[in-house]
């Protein structure tokens, strides 16, 4: 088991290194102008020298917009799911709309939100809230129905109240679904915050930096920003996966 875990790590790592080397050789070997595609070493050099700028962008986009928006949106989706669970009528009405909303291009709300909440991080956080609300609603409602009939009957035979059943049976059973939504939302939140910055922003932020540096053809800076964004996104996702493993340790997919 231990060696398999190591191999699971080794193969993708080797493939990644192969990609980076191939990229470097391709750019250097064919003399691709850095306006089109900078070499990994150039990007690394830029990344090291412009850390303060990258950090400021990270704070503006990730700490001020992504994290609060993701928290509020997911929490709101979860609370509405609880209310839906209590009132069947609301569930029947909202769930089809929630499913429909998953298919809609919600990023389109960005210009409206920028108009309502101003150029600064508030409008970006609002965008993230809107984007993360529906996936959580739909998943949490599904998750709350995931516990089996037998288990629910058992709780009733114990004389458990609605709240006790929720806390001790149905919430734990819903956790895999809720974590699924949290993970989906982590990537959606990054996208929402960055895209909202295209519609107006103060002079800081990942989306702002990317669009201005593209205009100035500073592609090494753009790639440095992408590297930071990918790192943040992966770390966020990875953290959630770890947390999920801790909370839903009982789930069949983690059994050994």
């Amino acid at each position: 088991m231990k060696t398999a875990g190591f191999r699971d790590f080794l193969y993708p790592a080797l493939f990644g290194i192969f990609l980076l080397v191939a990229w470097q050789l391709f750019v250097r070997g064919l003399n691709v102008p850095s306006v089109l595609l900078p070499a990994p070493t150039d990007i690394w050099a830029k990344l090291i020298t412009s850390l303060p700028t990258l950090y400021a962008d990270f704070v503006q986009t990730f700490i001020r917009a992504v994290i609060p928006g993701w928290t509020i949106g997911s929490l709101a989706g979860f609370l509405v799911a609880l209310v839906c669970d209590r009132f069947a009528f609301l569930k029947q009405g909202l769930l089809p709309l929630g499913n429909l909303a998953a298919a809609l291009p919600i990023v389109g709300v960005a210009p409206i939100l920028v108009m309502w909440f101003g150029f600064d991080w508030q409008s970006k956080a609002a965008m993230v809230v809107v984007m993360t609300f529906f996936p959580m609603l739909v998943n949490a409602v599904t998750g709350l129905q995931a516990s089996g009939h037998l288990e629910r009957d058992l709780m009733r035979s114990y004389g458990a109240t609605w709240f006790q059943t929720l806390l001790k049976l149905r919430l734990p059973a819903a956790m895999p679904f809720i974590f699924n939504a949290l993970k989906i939302n982590s990537t959606l939140a990054m996208i929402g915050a960055i895209v909202a910055e295209f519609f107006g922003t103060p002079i800081v932020g990942m989306g702002f930096r990317i669009s201005t540096e593209v205009g100035r053809l500073g592609l090494d800076m753009v790639w440095a920003e992408i590297a930071v964004a990918a790192l943040c996104g992966s770390a966020f996702y990875g953290l959630l996966t770890l947390l999920e493993r801790g909370v839903t340790f009982w789930h069949p997919s983690y059994r050994r």
């Binding site: 009528f89 009405g93 593209v214 992408i226």
Partner: protein, 293 residues
């Protein structure tokens, strides 16, 4: 989780009630949110309840337009203007739709090809799969401007750059769904194929591919929805020439709120139509394969 399960018979009443409630809330919100702009005019008109309603719901540049204003804008720009003029909403929807469909087709092909490779080559499963997942942690929509500019300087302009962004977003759900679908035949069936002395290719076409169709269509519904999102965002950095995204951008530059909302509603209708269309193809294919449903 299917993206769109449609509205089933039992939920027509609740959905209608909720939609009506949303519309009522929208109208009420329009009164209060537009106060800043509307109040001076209401006072000038002499106040009163009917003046408040007619002015808050009829502003030229409202903070939030009333639903009927949005419908009116859509009617004005879609039905009264020739569809090939740049003023027409139909023209912009077509621009976005064409790059969505091209990106969707490319992404689906790439996704299926990757899934077939992953299922058949064991080494790829271990090495490629994590990178396919990692590729989606890069917020592609954020690099969209760069991709558009880089492809533009390579001489690729117009439809293709936007489609490539759609493709990049599309292929992921297709690959994930198809890997699951192609590996869904159980060992008994695979063993049966082996006793028939079927080649790998025959197993793929006669067993794995038909078995994967439900997974494929579930993925395609997700994929076509994000393809549309990709195409819309792809239009933002091109300097707002044409398309639904461009309508939104020009609307936000010039404070034309109604235009933004009209573009948004148009995009939603297109999205719902596309997902519904994929569902229709699914039913057709299902009938051809003799499914009972």
């Amino acid at each position: 989780m299917k993206t769109s399960s449609g509205i089933r018979g039992g939920s027509v009443v609740p959905v209608t009630v909720i939609v009506l409630l949303i519309l009522v809330a929208w109208y009420i919100a329009a009164i209060f949110m537009n106060t800043v702009v509307a109040q001076p005019r209401i006072d000038a008109a002499g106040g009163g309840f009917s003046n408040t309603l007619s002015i808050s719901w009829g502003l030229e540049r409202p903070i939030i337009p009333a639903p009927h204003q949005v419908v009116q804008e859509i009617w004005m720009t879609a039905a009264t203007v020739a569809p090939w003029e740049t003023k027409s909403l139909v023209y912009h929807v077509w621009v976005t739709l064409s790059s969505t469909l091209l990106g969707f087709a490319l992404g689906t092909l790439l996704g299926i090809a990757l899934a077939i490779a992953i299922v058949h080559v064991k080494l790829l499963n271990k090495s490629l799969m994590p990178w396919i997942i990692a590729s989606q942690t890069i917020p592609i929509l954020a690099i969209a401007p760069m991709i558009i500019v880089v492809l533009g300087s390579l001489g690729l302009t117009g439809l293709l750059p936007k489609s490539i962004i759609s493709m990049y977003l599309c292929f992921f759900p297709v690959t994930i769904g198809m890997v699951k679908g192609l590996t869904s035949p159980d060992p008994m069936q695979l063993d049966l194929m082996r006793t028939y002395y079927a080649s790998t290719e025959q197993v793929l076409w006669k067993l794995r591919f038909p078995a994967s169709l439900p997974f494929l269509f579930a993925s395609l519904k997700v994929a076509i929805a994000i393809a549309l999102t990709g195409a819309i965002v792809g239009e933002l950095p091109t300097g707002a020439q044409a398309g639904i995204g461009a309508r939104m951008l020009t609307g936000s530059y010039y404070g034309q709120t109604v235009q933004i909302w009209a573009a948004l509603v148009a995009a939603s209708v297109v999205a719902a139509g596309l997902v519904y269309g994929v569902g229709g193809v699914e039913r057709l294919v299902g009938r051809r394969l003799g499914s009972q449903a």
